[in-house]
C-alpha cells in the first residue's frame, strides 16, 4: 500500500526542504523529511520482514528465505506460516495508523483515536455477541465486529453532534461510551460459558498468531480499497485540517468529507479488529510518532501509515521472541512499546522548553 506514494522517492529539486514531484501534469510538493521517513520506514519494513521470515523455532538461513520467496526451494513454514504473518503486520499496522490519523484529524485531538473513543471496544462487543449469543463461526464474528464498530461510531458521532462537531466533546463522550462498552464486554465475558470466555479473552488481547493467507484475502482487499479512497482525498483532508471555514471556502464538501473519513476510519479499525482482535494503541501512538518523525504540522496520513506498519511488525516480532516458545498477544507489546515511545517523545518536548 505504499506503492502509490513511492513516487516521492525520486528527488527532482535539490534547493529547498521540499521536493517537487510531477504527477500527471500537476506538481506535488513533498517535504524532504517525509521522503527520508518513507525510505527509512520501507527499509525498516524490509529488514523486519526478513527477520520475521527467518525467525521461528529454528532460524532459517538467508538462502532458505530467498529460496522460499522465489519458489526455488519451497518451504511451507516460510511461505505459508511466516509470510502471512509478516504481511498482516504491515497491512494491519498501516490500517490502524491511518484510522488513528483520520480520527485525530477529525477531532483535532490526539486522544480522539479509535481505541480511546470506544471503536475497538465496540467491535469487540459485536464479536462477543456473535460468539456468545449466536455461537457464530469466524466469518460471522468478523461481520459482528464490523457491525459493532459501526454502531459504536454512529453512537459516539451522533451524541457529540449538536450544532457542529467539537473535538473535545467527541473525545469525552467517546471515553464515556468506551467505559460503558468495556463494562458490557466484561459482563458478557463473565456470563459466557468458560470455553467461549477463554476464546474471547484470548482474542481480546489482539494477536497475529495463526494467521494464514486465507484470513488475509478479504481484509487485504477491504483495507486496500479504503486506503486508496482516503489517499485520493488526501489534499481535501489537508484543506480541512486548516479549519472548517477555510476548507469550505476552498471548495471542500465538509459534511460529505467527514462522513467519508469516519467510514474509512471505522472500516479500517473494524476490519483489523475482526481478524486480529483489538490491537490497542497503534492507532493512538503511530500518528503521533509519525508526525513527530516527519516534523509535520497536523497529523499527516502517510507517516501514520508507515509508522503504524513498522510499529506493529516490530511489536509482533518482539511478541514472538520475548518469551519464546510462548508467543505473547501482540497487543501486549504494542501497548508497551507504543506507550513507552510516546512518553519518551513527550518528555523530550518538555526538556526542549
Amino acid at each position: 500500500m505504499t506503492g502509490t506514494q513511492k513516487t516521492g522517492e525520486t528527488p527532482v529539486l535539490e534547493r529547498t526542504s521540499t521536493v517537487r514531484v510531477p504527477v500527471g501534469g500537476r506538481a506535488w510538493f513533498v517535504q524532504r523529511r517525509t521522503i527520508g521517513l518513507v525510505v527509512g520506514c520501507v527499509v525498516a519494513m524490509l529488514g523486519l520482514g526478513f527477520v520475521g521470515l527467518s525467525y521461528g523455532t529454528s532460524w532459517a538461513t538467508p538462502g532458505e528465505v530467498f529460496g522460499a520467496l522465489t519458489g526455488l526451494e519451497p518451504s511451507v513454514v516460510i511461505a505459508e506460516w511466516r509470510a502471512p504473518r509478516v504481511v498482516a503486520g504491515i497491512l494491519f499496522g498501516a490500517a490502524l495508523g491511518v484510522a488513528g490519523a483520520i480520527f485525530q484529524n477529525l477531532t483535532r485531538n490526539p486522544m480522539g483515536s479509535p481505541d480511546i473513543i470506544g471503536l475497538d471496544a465496540g467491535a469487540y462487543t459485536g464479536a462477543l455477541l456473535v460468539m456468545t449469543v449466536f455461537a457464530g463461526a469466524s466469518v460471522t464474528v468478523a461481520f459482528g465486529a464490523v457491525a459493532g464498530g459501526l454502531v459504536t461510531a454512529a453512537l459516539v458521532y451522533s451524541l457529540s453532534r449538536s450544532n457542529g462537531l467539537s473535538g473535545m466533546r467527541l473525545v469525552v463522550i467517546g471515553i464515556a461510551v468506551n467505559a460503558m462498552v468495556t463494562a458490557l464486554n466484561n459482563w458478557l465475558v463473565l456470563r459466557a460459558e468458560l470455553e467461549v470466555a477463554m476464546a474471547a479473552v484470548g482474542w481480546n488481547s489482539g494477536s497475529l498468531n495463526g494467521i494464514d493467507w486465507e484470513d488475509l484475502v478479504v481484509p487485504g482487499v477491504v483495507i486496500a480499497v479504503l486506503l486508496t479512497v482516503i489517499g485520493l482525498r488526501a489534499s481535501a483532508l489537508q484543506q480541512s485540517a486548516l479549519g472548517d471555514s477555510i476548507a469550505v471556502s476552498t471548495g471542500v464538501p465538509l459534511e460529505r468529507q467527514r462522513l467519508l473519513m469516519v467510514l474509512v476510519g471505522v472500516g479500517c479499525t473494524a476490519t483489523v479488529t475482526a481478524v486480529a482482535g483489538p490491537v490497542m494503541f497503534v492507532a493512538l501512538a503511530a500518528p503521533q510518532i509519525g508526525r513527530r518523525l516527519a516534523q509535520a504540522p497536523g497529523v499527516p496520513l502517510l507517516p501514520a501509515a508507515l509508522t503504524g506498519a513498522v510499529l506493529l511488525q516490530f511489536a509482533d516480532l518482539v511478541a514472538q521472541m520475548l518469551l519464546a516458545p510462548v508467543s505473547l498477544p501482540v497487543g501486549v507489546v504494542t501497548t508497551a512499546i507504543g506507550g513507552g515511545y510516546l512518553i519518551w517523545l513527550l518528555a523530550q518536548e518538555v526538556r526542549r522548553r
Binding site: 464515556a176 460503558m180 497487543g331 518528555a347
Partner: protein
C-alpha cells in the same frame, strides 16, 4: 442526589448546608438498603436486632454482621476515597477531566500488585495496600513529571503510561498462572468477597487521608485561583501541592488496592457537585465524601440484585451509571464548561 435543581450561585451558597443534610440522610438510607438487600433479604426488624441484640444462631443476624455490614463500610470508604481523590486532583490540576484512573493511578496499582504477586509479596492485606499505594505514587509522579505543563499532555502521558504498565503486567500475568489467578479477582472491580479480608489497615489509611483532605482543602481554595494568586495570598504552593498529591495517591491507591479498578466515581461525583458548591473547595471535598459513598452503595446494591443468577461486579454498574451522566453533562454544558 443527582436530581437537585441547578441553582444560581447566591442560592447555592445558602443551600450548601441543606444539601449536606439531604446527602447525609440519603447516605443513611443507602446504607440501610445496602445492609438489608441482597440474595437473602433481611427484614428491618431483624436488621435492628442484629445490631442491638445479636443472636449467633440467627441466620439473618450472621449475614448482617459478617457480610453486609463490613461490605457496606467498605463501600462507604471506597466511595468516599475515590470521590475525594477525584475532587482533589481536579482542583489541583484545574482540569475537570482529571481522574485518578486517567492519571495512571489504577494501572500503577495494578502493575505493583501484579509484580508483587509474581514475586510472592502480595500475601497479606498490609503488603497489598503498600504495593497498591507505592504503585500509584510512582505512576502519578511520572505522569505528572512528564505532563505537568499542559492539560492535554497530562492526559496523553497518563494514557501512554497506563498502557505501558498494562502491557507489561499483562505480559507478566500471561506467563505466570498463579499471578493471573490472584489478579483475576482483583481486576474486576467489585466489593464482593473483599469484606472477608482484614480491612483495618486500608480503612484506617483512607480515614486518615480523608481527614487530611478536609484540612488541606482550605489551602487548596487559594491554589484553585491560580498559582500567582495563591502566592500573593501567602499560600505555600509547593508544600500544599505535594501534600495533596500524597493524599490523592493514598486515597486512590488504597481504594484501588482493596476494590480493584472502579471508574467514574472519582470523575462524576466532584463534577456534579462543583455547580452546587459555588467554588468552595472545602465544601466540594466534604460533599464528595458524602455523595461518593451514596453512589457506591447504590451501585453495589444494584449489582447484587440486578440478576437472579449472581452478582454483577460493581464497576460495571458504576460505568453504566456514570457514563450517561458524563455524556449528559457534556451535552448540556459543553466540553468547555467541564
Amino acid at each position: 442526589m443527582t436530581s437537585a435543581p441547578p441553582a444560581s450561585p447566591p442560592t447555592a451558597r445558602t443551600a450548601r448546608p441543606a444539601i449536606l443534610v439531604v446527602g447525609l440522610l440519603a447516605l443513611f438510607a443507602a446504607g440501610v438498603a445496602s445492609v438489608a438487600v441482597g440474595a437473602r433479604a433481611v427484614p428491618l426488624g431483624e436488621l435492628w436486632g442484629a445490631l442491638a441484640d445479636f443472636d449467633p444462631l440467627n441466620g439473618d443476624h450472621l449475614v448482617v454482621r459478617d457480610i453486609r455490614l463490613p461490605r457496606t463500610l467498605l463501600g462507604i470508604a471506597v466511595g468516599a476515597a475515590l470521590a475525594v481523590g477525584g475532587a482533589l486532583i481536579q482542583t489541583l490540576s484545574r482540569n475537570p477531566l482529571a481522574e485518578p484512573g486517567i492519571l495512571g493511578v489504577t494501572h500503577g496499582a495494578g502493575f505493583a500488585l501484579t509484580v508483587g504477586a509474581a514475586l510472592g509479596l502480595a500475601g497479606s492485606a498490609v503488603s497489598q495496600l503498600g504495593l497498591g499505594v507505592a504503585g500509584s505514587v510512582l505512576a502519578t509522579a511520572l505522569v505528572y513529571a512528564v505532563g505537568r505543563h499542559s492539560t492535554l499532555r497530562l492526559l496523553l502521558a497518563g494514557v501512554a503510561f497506563s498502557a505501558v504498565l498494562m502491557g507489561v503486567s499483562l505480559g507478566i500475568r500471561l506467563t505466570s498462572p498463579d499471578t493471573l489467578d490472584k489478579y483475576r479477582f482483583w481486576a474486576v472491580g467489585s466489593l464482593a468477597g473483599r469484606e472477608q479480608t482484614d480491612l483495618t489497615v486500608p480503612l484506617v489509611a483512607i480515614g486518615a487521608a480523608l481527614v487530611g483532605a478536609l484540612v488541606i482543602a482550605r489551602s487548596l481554595n487559594a491554589i484553585a485561583l491560580g498559582e500567582t494568586v495563591a502566592h500573593t495570598l501567602g499560600a505555600n504552593v509547593a508544600r500544599v501541592r505535594t501534600a495533596t498529591l500524597v493524599l490523592i495517591t493514598v486515597l486512590a491507591g488504597a481504594a484501588t488496592a482493596v476494590a480493584g479498578p472502579i471508574l467514574f466515581v472519582g470523575l462524576i461525583v466532584p463534577h456534579l457537585l462543583r455547580r452546587l458548591t459555588s467554588g468552595s473547595v472545602p465544601w466540594l471535598v466534604g460533599l464528595s465524601a458524602v455523595v461518593g459513598p451514596i453512589l457506591m452503595l447504590v451501585a453495589d446494591t444494584i449489582a447484587r440484585v440486578l440478576l437472579h443468577t449472581g452478582e454483577v461486579p460493581v464497576a460495571i454498574v458504576t460505568a453504566f451509571l456514570g457514563g450517561p451522566v458524563l455524556i449528559w453533562v457534556v451535552r448540556r454544558y459543553g466540553a468547555g464548561s467541564l
